[in-house]
Symmetry: C2
Subunit: 138 residues, 2 copies
DNA sequence: TCTTGAACCTCTAGTCGCTAGAGCATGTAG
DNA sequence: CTACATGCTCTAGCGACTAGAGGTTCAAGA
């Protein structure tokens, strides 16, 4: 399987310039090239790039992804190191889920209220109160 | 209540330069100033800034926040407009929750595996496989 | 009242993670 | 063997901050 960069892009949903950017910052290894210097990729790059995309969408920054990728590329390394990295994210992720769930409830309430007035919608209040730990529930 | 910018920062968790930046891009109104040109804020700014912070943390971009803020500042406007904005985000939010939940399960599995080898951890595989069938474009 | 220093001011420039465009080269399909 | 979609490099721009230089203000303590 020999994929041009455009085909890799199509299969992963990552834009062509972004793929080149990832190569530039060392997230993707330098691929083989044709005589005319065009990049050619294989199955491992598809997997790696899919991983990168999903990790990015889920809020991991490039440095964290780099660490995870480095760790897993050496399969003899102890899981404890991955533990340390993932642990940090686990709390964040749980926190995000909690707040997104609260937000979803509010958004659904707003979507349902449709013909009424904005003044009846509580989204602003609820969001503004969050950090205060004072929000009354409805 | 007359708050200096540093006090507003402490109460909202938004850094001082970020507050000035929000003013610059029009997310926060220009506040009153002292004789010596220092900004002074009141309760409404605390609320507004808290709203902005939480909305940002939950992934709303500045333009969306601006729209929500504009809409709600005119309480006679129909909820339908808010509906349109929130509706768009509702799908994204649900999608994020779903993928974060999947990630959390994987992270928890990894954290639990501790002493074993990275090769036993499935996070890379799971994340790499996620978008294989269908990807949503935002 | 005066002094001191933390906190304020403006302005410019840098960061991260892309994204777009110019201008030219390659490679595949007809 | 030619057309032209796709590829290449390079530079510059964007969103949303963040950091630093260099100077000013304000409030608390002597």
């Amino acid at each position: 399987m020999e994929l041009a960069i455009g085909e890799l892009s199509r299969r992963t949903g990552v834009k062509v310039p972004t793929i080149r950017y990832y190569e530039q910052i060392g997230l993707l290894p330098e691929p083989t090239r044709t005589e005319g210097q065009q990049r050619r990729y294989g199955a491992p790059e598809v997997r790696r790039l899919n991983f990168i995309r999903h990790a990015r969408e889920l809020g991991f920054d490039v440095e964290a992804i780099r660490q995870l990728l480095d760790l897993t590329s050496d399969p003899n390394r102890s899981c404890g190191e991955v533990h340390a990295i993932t642990r940090t994210h686990l709390d964040e992720v749980n926190d995000k889920i909690a707040r997104l769930t609260a937000l979803r409830d509010e958004l659904e309430a707003m979507v349902a209220c449709d013909n009424r007035r904005v003044s009846d919608c509580r989204i602003i209040e609820v969001l503004a109160d969050h950090g205060q730990c004072q929000h009354r529930h409805h």
